[in-house]
């Protein structure tokens, strides 16, 4: 396991900063389970906990993308939301945001939406490893330090 982390680290010198928004009931607990199982993971992802993925305002994602290299929004599986269907509402918002970000010229890998349950420590691990690998390949976020006049115009 440690070897795997070292391989990811050695992939490039660039160490991406990634923020993951987790809902309290599924993904945050899934991340806890990954810890309990002592899965070894790259340290690039930091978690901000909210009660429900439905709380995540697209504005939070935009703001975060001006600070870091990638953002993950996560929640319970559709149909399993602790608040009945908050995640379905998050899905709608995030899909619109996804289109908007692609119009801004942002690579789709930099904003990802995943449903990870409290039991899916392994899926959590895979998502974290996958995004770190991808962002290491892509390099720093082009939106960092971007000036408004350089925004691409369609």
């Amino acid at each position: 396991m440690n070897q795997e982390i070292q391989t990811i680290k050695d992939q490039s010198e660039f160490e991406p900063k990634i923020v993951m928004f987790c809902c309290n009931w599924c993904t945050y607990q899934g991340a806890n389970l990954a810890g309990l199982l002592h899965y070894q993971l790259p340290p690039n992802v930091r978690i901000i906990r909210v009660m429900c993925s439905g709380r995540i305002d697209p504005m939070f994602v935009l703001k975060t993308l001006t600070k870091v290299d990638a953002v993950l929004v996560t929640g319970c599986h559709l149909g399993d939301c602790h608040y009945i269907n908050g995640n379905a509402k998050a899905l709608r918002r995030m899909k619109i945001l996804e289109r908007m970000l692609s119009q801004l010229g942002l690579e789709p890998e930099r904003f990802q939406l995943h449903w990870i349950s409290s039991a899916e420590a392994n899926k959590y691990r895979e998502v974290v490893i996958d995004i770190v690998k991808k962002i290491k390949q892509l390099g720093p976020n082009p939106l960092l330090n971007m000036k408004p006049e350089t925004f691409p115009v369609n």
Binding site: A34, R46, I48, D57, F60, H82
Partner: protein, 588 residues
């Protein structure tokens, strides 16, 4: 809101006895924390959750006048309550507490990377401080619960829970979806480790429950609607025979929905392909009414003499891809089957001493108190134990109409392939959770990947679910023996009593609508999953349109309305926009 100078934040970094400090440089994190805005005190200690650790927080509150506390330690689900109580004991509002998770989310997952693990801990602590520095003063709402509980499931766990709750003078409604009480106990013969007749024991319990005036028993009844909050759930119960529906107000609910035996698919070890392949529960039922042994001491099955019987262990349990090619696999150990096989084998040997027995096992787990004796009893007979492993599952073929050949590589004989000829095969099938999709959908309790209902924490809150006021009893939660199930049921009953005695505290972390500024678009109303927001004409508000008003007791604080309000007039208390934005700024 307080001005900046009045906010005094304390940061406490926990070593967790080395779990954290072996990886994270706690000294460095503490020093970093001292430079964060409003932080007037920071220290680290070996166990923050211990009495001595809690005393450090209390002292710092006394000496430095802390009014915000951040503890960097384990996840909030473990010790948030512990630390909030510390604040409360010092008259600091418990909502001014924030926990940074640097164990599960840092030290345990970045074991070989002290530098980066320390940096990440610093980020998480900074984020927690940024959040708590601008936390609003919140209050929980206390409500008196309805002193009436609902128990779902009329098996041994449900009956025990109902009886234990009623003994504390709390009204109980017990519902059972079938026509009879007793559940799976009705299918058992004698129970280990006492050898008591299951029917007698459960009959006694049913009688006690039925005669208790504080308990209302409804058979053929299911829960068809579930709403409200802990302390006052409004629950609709629908009875199919005679058809009727009623609504009850319930303070707390015990889920004792039980299990079903694993039903092997047709063909697994020739199940259903031959009448001489039988599951353990069916065999127990057969043996219960079996009285006249064949005169030579052999077992009679379907009128034919059985000379050799094989018990195959772990059927539908502990399945893994390397051995089983199935779509749905039960990875867990069902826990009861080994002892049950030994118990049944010993009884069979007693009734039919000439029958020769085989145990085809992977591992034998007669783990319980006083269960080992069954393993010994079975071993003392001439039962032959053959050990298979996951890579070489036993292969069962028919040698003729009534006989089978079991090919198995005995691990204990260096994988020597044995051919065993038997007349009867008993499958030691495992336990699966009862199908309760409707209840899960109504209540939103969590299930594990194995399908069993999940407790909040296996050690700290073992019978509580993620939904307040819903407790777990018995095999709905995990495979258990009837002894263990009754222990769980009594524990759930005790938790119901706690809710009834203490009352219910509803979190202050809910939404708040500034109705004055509401433009009446109604988006939040259509989004709220609990119908907690409604349109009202407010005379005191000088608008020409109706405005959104929140029913606070119905709000569960998900925050979905907050992020949708185009006017930005809804606040998620405890998770405000400002707080989350501050966390985003501070986390790297």
């Amino acid at each position: 809101m307080m001005t900046d100078e009045t906010i005094k934040t304390g940061v406490f970094v926990c070593h967790c006895g080395g779990n954290i400090s072996d990886v994270v440089d706690v000294e460095k994190v503490t020093e970093m924390a001292k430079n964060l805005p409003n932080v007037v005190h920071a220290e680290h200690y070996i166990f923050m959750c211990s009495d001595a650790g809690q005393a450090l927080i209390k002292n710092a509150i006394d000496e430095k006048g802390l009014n915000r506390v951040v503890v960097a330690a384990c996840p909030p689900s473990l010790h948030e309550m512990t630390f909030k109580k510390v604040l409360e004991s010092k008259d600091v509002n418990p909502y001014f507490f924030e926990q940074a998770n640097i164990r599960e989310h840092v030290s345990w997952i970045h074991k070989h990377n002290t530098k980066e693990a320390t940096e990440k801990s610093e980020g998480l602590v900074s984020s927690a401080v940024a959040k708590i520095n601008i936390q609003m003063e919140l209050q929980s709402t206390h409500i008196d619960p309805v002193v009436h509980s609902l128990v779902i499931g009329g098996g041994v766990s449900g009956l025990r829970a109902a009886k234990d709750i009623a003994r504390r003078n709390i009204q109980v409604t017990l519902i059972e979806k079938t026509a009879v009480l007793g559940g799976r106990m009705n299918d058992l013969d004698t129970l280990y480790p006492t050898g008591d007749k299951a029917k007698e024991l459960i009959g006694e319990l049913i009688k006690e429950v039925k005669t208790d005036k504080r308990i209302t028993v409804l058979t053929n009844t299911e829960m068809t609607n579930f709403e409200g909050v802990v302390g006052d759930y409004k629950i609709e119960l629908t009875t199919s025979d005679p058809p009727s529906t009623k609504e009850v107000h319930i303070g707390a609910v015990v889920l004792a929905t039980g299990f079903k035996p694993y039903e092997p698919p047709e063909g697994e070890y020739l199940y259903k392909k031959s009448p001489n392949v039988v599951t353990l529960p069916d065999f127990i039922k057969y043996m219960e009414s079996y009285e006249e042994p064949d005169d030579n001491g052999f077992l009679l099955w379907e009128g034919k003499r059985v000379r050799r019987t094989a018990f195959i262990h772990c059927v539908g349990s502990r399945e893994e891809e390397i051995g089983h090619q199935k779509e749905k696999m039960n990875a867990y150990c069902s826990r009861v089957c080994c002892t049950s096989i030994m118990h049944t084998a010993a009884e069979l040997k007693e009734k039919c001493p000439e029958t020769y027995l085989y145990s085809i096992f992977r591992d034998i787990r007669t783990y319980g108190h006083n269960h080992e004796v069954y393993n010994e009893v079975a071993s003392e007979t001439d039962m032959l134990f053959v050990r298979y492993n996951l890579r070489n599952l036993p292969q069962v073929t028919k040698s003729d109409e009534f006989h089978f050949k079991i090919q198995v590589k005995d691990q204990l004989l260096d994988h020597l392939e044995l051919e065993i000829f038997v007349d009867l095969i008993v499958l030691g099938v495992g336990i699966e959770p009862e199908v309760i999709d409707d209840i899960v959908e109504l209540t939103r309790v969590s299930r594990g990947t194995d399908g069993f209902l999940k407790e909040v924490h296996p050690k700290l809150r073992p019978v509580e679910t993620s939904v307040d006021g819903i407790l777990l009893a018995g095999t709905a939660q995990a495979p258990l023996t009837s002894t263990e199930a009754t222990i769980h049921a009594s524990a759930a009953a005790a938790k119901v009593a706690v809710i009834m005695a203490k009352g219910v505290s509803i979190s202050g972390e809910i939404a708040e609508i500034d109705s004055e500024e509401c433009n009446g678009c109604g988006i939040c109303i259509s989004l709220c999953p609990y119908e907690a927001i409604s349109f009202e004409e407010k005379v005191e508000i000088s608008t020409t349109h109706p405005v959104a008003v929140l029913a606070e007791l119905l709000c569960k604080g998900c925050g979905t309305c907050v992020s949708a309000c185009p006017s930005g007039v809804i606040t998620a208390k405890g998770y405000t926009d400002e707080q989350i934005l501050a966390q985003i700024d501070a986390i790297f």
